[in-house]
Amino acid sequence: MTGITDSESDASSVSKRLNKILETRVENDTNTLEGLKELSVFFKENTLQSRRNLRSKIEKRSLEINADFLSAFQVVKEKLDSVYNDVKAMNESVQIMTTQLHSTKTHTHRLIEQTLKLQSDAKKISMQQQVAEAFIGQFQLSPEQLALLTDSNISQSFFEALDKVHSIHERCRTLMQSGLRTVALDIMEQMSRYQEAGLDKLYRWAQFHCKGIESIEMSNLLTRAMARLQERPVLFKYVVHEYCISRRAVMVQMFIDALTSGGPGGTPKPIEAHSTDSKRYVGDMLAWLHQAIPNERENILLLLRDCSKEELSKDIDEALSNITEGVCNPLQVRLETVIQQETSPSNLYSVISLLKFYHNIISSVIPGSVLESVFIEQTSACRKQFFSLLEDIVAKMLQDRVEAPPSNLTPAPGVLHLLALLRQVLSVASVTENRQVDIVKIVASVIDPLLQAVSLSAARLTTTDMAVYLLNCFHQMASTLALYEFTDQRLERLQAQSDAQIDTLTSEQASSLVANLNLGPIYTILQDSSDAPLSQIPGMEPECLDSFFGKLEHFLMMPDMLLLPQINYLQSSNHRLEIQRRANEVISAIYRQLYQRIHDPKNMYSNPSHLMPRSPEQVHELLLGLKEPKKNENTSGIISL
C-alpha cells in the first residue's frame, strides 16, 4: 500500500499548487483592481507604443501627482504653521492666566478661612445669645411684668408676675448648685426685693379693699391676695385685722338695728321693745348674737378660702373674736342696766341662766374672746346682784312680815311668801347648768334666816303651840324643797328638826291622855316594884280602876276626843297621825301592862276578866286601827313620860 501512497503524494502537491493559482481570483484582489482601474484612466489604447511608454507615462504621472501633492501640502503646512502660532500664543496667555490664577487662589484661601472662622464665631455668638435670652427669660422679669409689680393696679397678671418672681427665686437654688453662686445670690436678692415690693403693694391694696368691706362682696382678686399675703404673716394679720374692723362696725350696726328697729314693718318687734321683760330681752339679744356668729364665720372663710388651711383655724377664731368685740360694749351696757334694774330674783336668776347657757355656746364657738369675757363678767355680776337682792328681800321680809304666828298656828304669811319666792327661783335654777352650788346657796340664803326668824317668833308660844307652829313651818319648807334636786341634806336637817318637834308633841299628847284618863296614879303604882298584891294598894282597888275603865271606854269609842286642840292645826296629816299613833301606843302599852298585872293571880283580883273585859289586843286595835303586831312590846314613848 505504501508505494501507492508516495506517488500519490507527489501528484497531490503539484495539483495543490495549481489549484491555488486557479483559485486565485483577480476580482478578489482590490489592490490589483484599483490599479487596473487607475490604469484604465490614461491607458486608452492598447498599443505597443503605448505599452512601451506605459512605464514612463506611469512615472510621469506619478511625478505630477507628487508635485500636486507637494503644492497642496504647502498650503496645509502654512496653515498648520499659523495654527501653531495661535496655539503657542494661547499657551502663553494661559500660562499667564494660570500664574495669575494661582496667585489669586492663594489669596482667596485666606479669605475663605477668615469667613469660615467668622461664620463659626457668628454661630457661637448667636447660640450664646439664645442662652442669654433663655437665661433672662428664666431669671428676669419682663419690663411689663416689672411694671405690673409696681403700678397701682392689681390684676390677674399681677399674680402671674408675682408667681414668676417666686419661681425665679426658687430656680436660683438650682443655679447655685450648678456653681453660679454669685449670680444666683444677686438674682435672689433682686427677686426678694421685687417680691417685697409686690407683696407690699398687694398688702396696701388688700387693706384698702377690706376697709370698705360693707357687704360680703369679695372679689377673687382679694381672696387670692389673702392667699399670697399668708406668706407674710405680719401683713396677713394686718389685713385680716382691717377686715375685722370693718365687719365689727357692720355687726354693731346690725345689732343696734335689731335692737331698735326690728324686722320689716316692725315684725318681729325690735328687741328693745321687750326691755322690761328681762328674760326675753336678754334672751333675744344673746340669741341674736349666737346666730350672727355663723354668718361672720362664713364670711371670713370666704375671704380666706384660697389660703392654705393649715393653722388657719386659729386666725379665724381670732378674727371672730375681734369682729364680735364690737357688740361687747352695747351688750354689756344693756346687761348692766338689766341687772341693776331687775327687782325680781327669779327673773334675775333667769338672766344668769341665759348668760350661763350662752357662755357655754360662746366658749365653744369663739373661745377666749372678749365676748366670752363679757359673759363671764356679767354672769358673775349678775350672780352677785342676785344674791344680794335675794338677801335684801329675805331680810326685809323677815323684818316686816314675819310676825307672831297666827292663832291657827299656820306659817305666817311672810314665811309662805318667802317660800313662794324660793320656789320661783329654784324652778329657774333647776334648769340651769352647773346649778348645784347655786341651788345650795340659794336655799341657804332663804331657809337659814327663815328658820331663825320662825324660831324667834315661836319662842313666845307654849311648848305645844311652838312645836305645832314649827312643825307646820318645817313641813312647808320641806315640801317646797322636796321638788328640787340638791336639797337632800337640807331636807334631812329639816326632818331631824321635825322629828324633835314630833317627839315633843307626842309626849305632850301622851301626857294629856294619861291625865284625862286618870291614868297618872295607876301608872306610877305600876312602875313601883312593891311585893304587896296590887289589889290591896290604895288607888288600885277595883272601884278605883273602874273610873279609869269608864273613861277609857269612852276614849276607845272616840279616840279624837282627847286630842290636844293644837294637834288639829298640824298641816301635815302624817304628823298628826304619827303623834296620835305614838301617844295612843303609850296608852295601849300601859293597858297591856295593867292587864297582865291584874290577871296575875298574885295580885289577887277576884274577877279580872270582869274587871277588864277588853284584851290588850282589842284596845290596841281600837286605838291604832290595826292588829297589834305579835310579841311587839314596843313601849317607846313611855320613857319620856
Binding site: 392667699a227 335689731a258 324686722g263 320689716p264 346666730q291 378660702r305
Partner: protein
C-alpha cells in the same frame, strides 16, 4: 376645689319647732347627713346645721336652727324665731297631743317671725303608719285641713326612712326663693332671714391657676 363649698348665692335661715320628741333633730340629721339617729338625745337649747342646696339653678346655703321642744327651754328657743326665712313646724302623727299643740306653735311663729316667713307643717314618723298595726293618731286629712286653713304647706314625712324630708326642706326654700323673685321678701330689710352673696363670686375664679401652690 377648695372654693367649692363657698359657691352659693344665698343663705336662708330656717328654724325647726314642735313638741319634744316629735323628731326635729332626726329630721335635721336626715337632711344634712342622710342618716337616721335612732337614739337622738333631747336637744339642749338649740342646735345648728347647714347644707347647700339647689333652688332654680341657684346655690342656696340653708342655715338651720333646731330648737329644743322641752318646755323648760321655751324661753331660750323663742328668741331664735327672729329673722327666720323658713319655719318647719313638726308634730308626731302617732301622738295627738303634739298635733293639738300646733296652734300654740303657730301663734308663736306668727308673732315672732316676719310676715314673709314661710311656714311648713311636717307630720313626722309616717313610717309608723304601716299596713299592719298602724300607730297613727292623727289623720292626714285633718292635718291637711289645718294646714290649708292656716295657709301652711304640708307633708307627712319620716326622719327614719327619709320619706319627704328633702321635699319639706326644698319646697320651703323654693317658696322663699319665689318670695324674693316676687319682691315680697326684701333682702335689704334687717332680719329677712336671707343673705345674698353677689353672683360674681366664684364665677371668675380660674381653677387652673391654683394660687395655693405657695
Amino acid at each position: 376645689m377648695s372654693a367649692g363649698p363657698y359657691n352659693y348665692e344665698y343663705i336662708f335661715k330656717y328654724i325647726i319647732i314642735g313638741d319634744m320628741g316629735v323628731g326635729k333633730s332626726c329630721l335635721l340629721h336626715q337632711f344634712t347627713d342622710k342618716k337616721f339617729m335612732a337614739d337622738c338625745p333631747h336637744t339642749i337649747g338649740v342646735e345648728f346645721g347647714t347644707r347647700i342646696i339647689d333652688v332654680a339653678g341657684q346655690k342656696v346655703k340653708l342655715q338651720i336652727w333646731d330648737t329644743a321642744g322641752q318646755e323648760r327651754f321655751r324661753a331660750v328657743t323663742r328668741s331664735y324665731y327672729r329673722g327666720a326665712a323658713g319655719a318647719l313646724m313638726v308634730y308626731d302623727i302617732t301622738r295627738r297631743s303634739t298635733y293639738n299643740h300646733l296652734s300654740s306653735w303657730l301663734t308663736d311663729t306668727r308673732t315672732l317671725t316676719n310676715p314673709s316667713t314661710v311656714i311648713f307643717l311636717i307630720g313626722n314618723k309616717c313610717d309608723l303608719d304601716s299596713a299592719d298595726g298602724s300607730q297613727r293618731d292623727v289623720t292626714y286629712e285633718e292635718a291637711k285641713q289645718f294646714a290649708d286653713e292656716n295657709g301652711l304647706m304640708f307633708v307627712e314625712a319620716s326622719a327614719k326612712t327619709g320619706d319627704n324630708v328633702e321635699e319639706a326642706f326644698l319646697e320651703t326654700a323654693k317658696k322663699i326663693y319665689q318670695s324674693i323673685q316676687d319682691g315680697r321678701l326684701d333682702l335689704n330689710a334687717a332680719e329677712s332671714g336671707v343673705q345674698h352673696k353677689p353672683p360674681q363670686l366664684g364665677s371668675d375664679f380660674t381653677p387652673n391657676k391654683d394660687p395655693c401652690s405657695c
